[in-house]
């Protein structure tokens, strides 16, 4: 069970208070109408789903109700960092 540092509450809390919301950093296209069905489908459904370092969106559902991002290893489940929306990860698959 994950132990998650909420960047808003500034302390570690139990996974039970959080919900995972999938891959992070997928901005909504600014002009959806300009996209083909294929492109829209990719925005909607197609995901990186990596084995290893993954950036994902979480919400502190039972706590402060704020969304934030997490860099996590999907194999070891280690959480490398959590960071606020709008911020960039410091740990990436490349680094």
């Amino acid at each position: 069970m994950l132990h998650i540092f909420c960047p808003h509450c500034a302390e570690y809390r139990e996974e039970e208070e959080f919900h995972a919301k999938g891959q992070a950093h997928i901005p909504r296209p600014l002009d959806p109408e300009a996209l083909s069905d294929k492109e829209w489908g990719e925005y909607l459904y197609f995901r990186k789903n990596p084995r290893g370092i993954h950036h994902e969106l979480w919400v502190h559902a039972a706590g402060c109700r704020k969304f934030f991002n997490m860099t996590r290893d999907t194999v070891t489940y280690e959480i490398h960092e959590t960071y606020k929306i709008g911020e960039k990860p410091t740990v990436t698959a490349q680094s």
């Binding site: 069970m1 132990h3 901005p27 829209w40 559902a61 194999v75 929306i85 709008g86």
Partner: protein, 1005 residues
């Protein structure tokens, strides 16, 4: 029975507290401090169970968690029947009732045992994959017989009488195991001021020290243990948990501890006390001091009762004052095995000899044997045991240096007890639960914990460190290391002084050779519970199951309730040997929770029965109950379904509720609808982005219905939103959608459009909502309010604030029934008051409470949809014929717009929602009926959509229905057919879903 194997003195039992118990119907006596196993051995019980496959008689082999055989049924009453209790871990209590789990007519004379003897040779591993195939039709019959043999103990047939508890714990250091290593680690950590939890599965702290006769600093180990435990007890922030098994090690140092609070007292927990408690622990550091488990050796007929591990023999003598036999032979690969011989001899019983598989031994152990006059036979092994329900004799033969061959004739020795020691396997289980693999260590001939990402330290036997002085050092070291990592200051601690011995190197031997090959030798058991033999493992390898995981799955090695604690390493070694591989190449199977099995009750805690899931109530609940409502579960809410009068059928009640509403006035408790208060200058813009319709111009004082879609264009939720102020809105959602919608708004606000100035706050629980509906609703309301309710002043889709029954309220003139309706919202603490006042004035209008079912009928008469019932994840607004609720000219590409425009979403033959009028007006099509255009088509029939809502309409005098029909919106007047399970076909005409008042006049009066 008398306690024929009980020694005159010694042990940690209290001879002043005898306890009587029952085993297989026989009354026996043991003492306080006994386990069920030690008491059975004291009473001379040899056979405690039958093996699973061959039904061989089995006795107690170990004294702890690794016991595979002594698995019994416990319970004096039906409700307390507890299957598969390990007798070696069950403390004796007065009045305990236990029995063997297999064996018919009795464990001693078992019928299946005969079958096992005769048919056993037909039952190699995986035999069932190779047979029972012909004829195909008979498999179910075969299987019925296979199933008859299934299982060990039995489940109770009654609900449990006890409660189980759960507690969330946090600590700096969790120490697992309270042997010498764990006690030292806990002491060091506690002295440094850390928050410590120390858990041990045994009833007393001390670990292996309890089983032997060690002295520490010249005094019995007992004194040292007491001193340490007393200090720990007195230290603040130290939690000591005996009888507590750490059963799972999960990610990020989350562990669960299964504490058996009252299993040692009785079948039933004391009143108000939990039977078990699960501690869910988040530990900053974990110190595993779980020790090591002794491996027995694998030899012919090694399962005959009387064969035990050498530590078990010592433990029964030293801890329980029981010598489970008269005449012992010890077989060992290492110096530790000699301890059993010493203890047995010192207890005044006969040791025939020690069979040491090594070529030579010197030093301390040899001296100790000489002192006692015990013969040592080196370079030899017990190749086979003789006997059936108890060891009668053993064959001892010389073996070669690497233990692979018998090199001389065997001699038969008459003994009744065999103690074997194949060395130690560190208890690495927990360290592997999070995916870490153990690594082989040649020096200690065992697997030790491997690299892990958990914040974990290890000390003592688990590291293969067995010399007591070093164990102490490792324990203290781990405690200090934990402190250091936590930024705490360690204090100086002295390592206790103990006597130590120079030891001979141990020999790596797992399978004792027999003069016959494995396939022909007497059965050499590796995993007792599942009857896995060395020959079975060899066969699996020969058949191509080379991976150790395949071997496990093919033979069931390690599948039992002991999870292979006793047999796995031997089994892996045998698989390696057969395949000419090394043990590290072969590796282990995966260790997983649980360390030992734990009750479902303990895992569930108090979240069962009444507390399984919250029941949510509205403020009017007491009234509903008092007025005979039946309830429908909607999410966690309990909503009135309908309000039958005494003796009234459901349909009659619905007819009455429907008619009363259309003819006069009805009332619905709508408090469960989700409500979200939305404020900010961009609230309006935000609504425009999340709803499909337009919000830019909705004036203050007005309400509007809206549809919400996902990015895929499919309906997500719907509801009415009212403009309370220029920057202030109240959104309502479906009952089930409340939380989902709020999160939906937040996710878009927080991640996509943070620049929009808007705040969302849930006010679902804050407002009680009651809808009065029907031609007389205005008259009724007028009696209770000062507001001007005239149509001119307070029109359809207007809202106003006003007092109702003296309570400030927001009144919304919106309608889900198509009638003149008012939705009254008051603060929930006053909801019941207003509700009661409405009834106080409502009698003359025949004010009738109605529930969700009538609500469904009334809205269906009007063709209003229910999101989630008339829609599923594949329906968009146009499919519903609700294009009017989709604004295509909005500047912002609102959520759902692009999705709805995808190729598949604009197909003309999509399933569309239409009304359905049955040809026979009295027939109500069952909801969920599937429609076809050609009722005579062969199966599989092309289906064109299903009935989503269907009711008897008392108001209209005929049935009404809505359903999805392929291309339905352009098929008005055409027929669609609904074949039923009984072979009948219901014919219906596609029509508008608005069955009543198509112009919408009634709500506008």
């Amino acid at each position: 029975m008398n306690q024929k194997n009980r020694l005159q003195s010694g042990g940690r039992i209290d001879r002043n507290q005898p306890m009587s118990f029952e085993f297989n119907g026989q009354l026996m006596v043991g003492y306080q401090g006994d386990t069920l196993a030690s008491a059975l051995l004291a009473n001379g019980v040899d056979v405690v169970g039958r093996s699973f496959k061959y039904s061989r008689p089995r006795g107690i082999v170990t004294a702890g968690a690794d016991e595979p055989n002594a698995v019994v049924q416990l319970g004096a009453t039906e409700a307390t029947q507890t299957p598969n209790v390990r007798a070696t871990q069950q403390e004796l209590f007065d009045g305990l009732v236990a029995g063997s789990t297999n064996g018919w007519p009795s464990v001693d004379n078992d019928f299946m045992g005969m079958v096992g003897k005769i048919g056993g040779s037909m039952m190699p591993p995986g035999f069932y994959y190779k047979t029972f195939m012909f004829p195909q039709s008979l498999w179910e019959t075969y299987e019925t017989f296979i199933r008859k043999a299934a299982g060990l103990g039995r489940s109770s047939k009654e609900s449990d009488v006890d409660v189980y508890d759960r507690m969330n714990q946090f600590c700096d250091v969790l120490v697992v195991g309270a042997g010498p290593a764990g006690l030292c680690a806990a002491l060091a950590a506690a002295r440094g001021g850390a928050r410590v939890i120390l858990a041990d599965e045994q009833s007393e702290f001390g670990g292996s020290l309890l089983d032997g006769k060690e002295t520490i600093s010249g005094k019995p180990a007992d004194e040292w243990i007491n001193k340490v435990v007393t200090e720990l007890e007195k230290t603040e922030d130290v939690l000591l948990l005996p009888r507590s098994t750490v059963n799972g090690y999960h990610d990020q140092n989350f562990l669960t501890i299964h504490q058996r609070c009252s299993d040692h007292l009785s079948d039933r927990a004391p009143t108000n006390q939990p039977r078990h408690r699960m501690h869910r622990v988040r530990a900053k550091r974990v110190i595993l001091a779980t020790g090591a488990q002794e491996r027995p050796l694998v030899f012919g007929n090694n399962d005959i009762p009387g064969c035990m591990t050498s530590t078990a023999v010592s433990t029964y003598i030293n801890r329980y004052g029981v010598a489970p036999g008269e005449n012992l032979v010890v077989m060992t690969t290492n110096d530790y095995g000699y301890q059993a011989a010493m203890d047995w001899h010192d207890a005044g019983r006969k040791v025939s000899c020690v069979v040491d598989t090594r070529e030579t031994v010197t030093g301390y152990v040899v001296d100790a044997m000489h002192e006692r006059g015990i013969r040592i036979m080196t370079g030899s092994a017990i190749t086979e045991v003789h006997g059936s329900k108890r060891v009668k004799a053993v064959s001892i033969a010389p073996i070669n240096e690497d233990g692979s061959k018998v090199v001389g004739p065997a001699a038969k020795w008459n003994v009744d007890t065999v103690a074997s020691s194949g060395g130690w396997s560190p208890a690495v289980h927990l360290s592997c639960h999070t995916g870490s693999r153990p690594v082989w260590n040649d020096d200690i001939i065992g697997f030790v914990p491997g690299p892990t990402v958990q914040k974990q330290l290890t000390a003592g036997g688990i590291n293969g460190c067995y010399e007591l002085e070093n164990v102490f050092k490792e324990g203290l070291g781990a405690g200090k290391q934990a402190l250091k990592e936590l930024g705490l200051e360690p204090t100086r601690l002295m390592t206790p002084k103990v006597e130590s011995h120079e030891r001979n190197p141990a020999m790596a031997l797992f399978l004792v050779p027999h003069r016959k090959p494995m396939s022909r030798a007497p059965k050499q058991f590796v995993d007792y519970q599942n009857d896995v033999t060395a020959g079975g493992i060899e066969l699996a390898c020969r058949e191509g199951f080379q991976s150790i995981e395949h071997v496990k799955r093919y033979t069931a090695l390690g599948f039992g309730t002991d999870q292979g604690k006793l047999g796995n390493i031997n089994g892996m070694a045998i698989a390696a040997q057969v395949q000419n591989k090394t043990l590290p190449e072969t590796g282990t199977t995966v260790f997983r929770p649980n360390y030992t099995p734990i009750t479902f009750g303990a895992i569930a805690g108090r979240d069962c029965g009444e507390l399984f899931d919250p029941k949510r109530y509205t403020a009017m609940q007491p009234w509903h109950v008092a007025n005979g409502a039946l309830f429908e579960d909607v999410g966690q809410w309990k909503r009135p379904w309908y309000f039958p009068k005494p003796g009234e059928s459901m349909q009659a009640a619905l007819n009455r509720e429907c008619k009363a509403t259309r003819e006069s006035v009805g009332i619905l408790d709508a408090s469960t609808l989700g409500k979200i208060d939305i404020q900010g200058k961009d609230a309006r813009e935000f609504l425009g982005r999340v709803y499909t319709n337009a919000w830019a111009k909705l004036p203050v004082g007005k309400c509007r219905y809206g549809l919400m879609c996902g990015e895929d264009g499919m309906i997500f939720d719907d509801g009415v939103t009212s403009c309370l102020g220029e920057n202030h809105f109240l959104m309502t959602t479906t009952t089930g959608g409340a939380a989902r919608v709020l999160e939906w708004l937040e996710i878009y606000h927080q991640t996509e459009w943070p620049e929009l100035e808007v705040y969302f706050n849930s006010v679902t629980d804050h407002w009680s909502t009651m809808t009065i509906s029907g031609p007389n609703s205005r008259k009724l309301l007028a009696e209770l309010t000062d507001a001007d309710l005239s149509n001119d002043n307070f029109g359809f889709m207007d809202w106003k604030t006003a007092n109702v029954a003296g309570v400030p309220a927001r009144i919304f003139r919106i309608s889900f029934t198509g009638e003149l309706s008012y939705e009254i919202n008051v603060q929930a603490n006053y909801g019941l008051h207003v509700w009661e006042q409405l009834f106080a004035h409502g009698e003359k209008y025949n004010l009738t409470p109605y529930g969700t079912e009538t609500m469904h009928i009334l809205r269906a008469e009007k063709g209003f949809i229910i999101a989630g019932q008339d829609t599923d994840g594949a329906v968009h607004p146009h499919d519903l014929g609700m294009s009017w609720a989709v604004a295509n000219s909005k500047p912002f590409s609102y959520i759902g717009k692009r999705g709805m425009a995808r190729e598949d979403c604009v197909r003309p033959d999509r399933k569309q929602l239409v009304g359905l009028k049955t040809t026979d007006p009295n027939v109500v099509i069952p909801e969920g009926s599937q429609g076809v255009f050609d009722p005579k088509a062969p199966i599989p029939m092309p289906m064109v959509g299903h009935v989503t809502s269907s009711y008897w309409s008392e108001n209209l005098g005929h049935s009404i229905a809505m359903g999805l029909v392929k291309g339905g919106l352009s098929k008005m007047g055409e027929k669609v057919y609904y074949p039923q399970a009984d072979g009948s076909v219901i014919e219906a005409e596609i029509c508008s879903p608005v069955f009543l008042d198509p112009k919408g006049e009634r709500q506008n009066v």
